[in-house]
Amino acid sequence: MITKEVYKRHLIERHGEQVQAKLENASVGIAGLGGLGSNIALALARLGIRRLILVDFDCVELSNVNRQAYFLKHIGMPKTIALNTLIKEVNPFVEVVLHHKRVTRENALSLFEDLDVLVEAFDEPASKAALIETMLIRSKIPLVAASGMAGSLSSNTIVTTKMRERFYLCGDKRTDSQDVNGLMVPRVLVAASHQANMVLRLLLGEKTV
């Protein structure tokens, strides 16, 4: 039986006490639990973050399994619930708040309040723009978004850019999933890791990319 104390001690051994003191008080929201969001959530769970707010309206489909964290046995389940089971297998001590609903301009502020960082991890570009616009105007939470990770171009075209105060963008900024051979796991993971690392840096007080 791995207790919370044992788990915490092991994270401190790996990451150091100063890092863990910050992470164990951190809350992060993730909007969209597809290829980006599902993998970012697992990364943050492994880091030992205190609290995750996870929002997605969708259910797991076979077409998701090529790049998203889900298993075949999750097909048909809401992504929120499937991802929660995976998170608990990695770190049962994360507080997870699940919302099986669509994020809109109207509900975004109330879904994502009192967070340290919000991750934009949608698929649809109009949804990405709507969330970022709404949160930049109406909240003060730092935002880590993604744009451009489809296809099999060089990994090195994916970068993290600070677009303005509180707004970071990860991706190549141009490769649309409609224009190339869809979304494939390697570049999606590169972009997801850029986002997860920017979240980590912000939580540790580092505001540069």
């Binding site: 969209g32 597809g34 290829g35 980006l36 969001g37 991890a121 949608f122 698929d123 649809e124 570009p125 109009a126 990405k128 723009a129 709507a130 970022i132 616009e133 930049l136 105007i137 978004a145 993604a146 744009s147 451009g148 990770m149 489809a150 677009m163 303005r164 963008l169 991706g171 900024k173 141009r174 490769t175 649309d176 999933s177 409609q178 979304l183 999606v188």
Partner: protein, 63 residues
């Protein structure tokens, strides 16, 4: 007018017109003019000053 670091000659036009001229879909754009975010619903009536500094982020699909 400076848009994403490049000079343009737009004069007395709306943000929506600028997006159309640049072949950008307003639905996927987050726009900042002189440091302020302009909400999408205001793109049509927002006339951009010819000396404005504009930053446009046009999101592409995938996630």
């Amino acid at each position: 007018m400076i848009i994403n670091g490049e000079s343009y000659d737009f004069q007395g036009v709306s943000l929506l017109t600028i997006l159309e001229e640049l072949s950008l879909n307003p639905q996927v754009v987050v726009a900042e003019v002189n440091g302020e975010i302009v909400p999408r619903r205001a793109f049509e009536r927002f006339v951009v000053d010819k000396s404005a500094v504009v930053e446009l982020v046009a999101f592409v699909g995938g996630g």
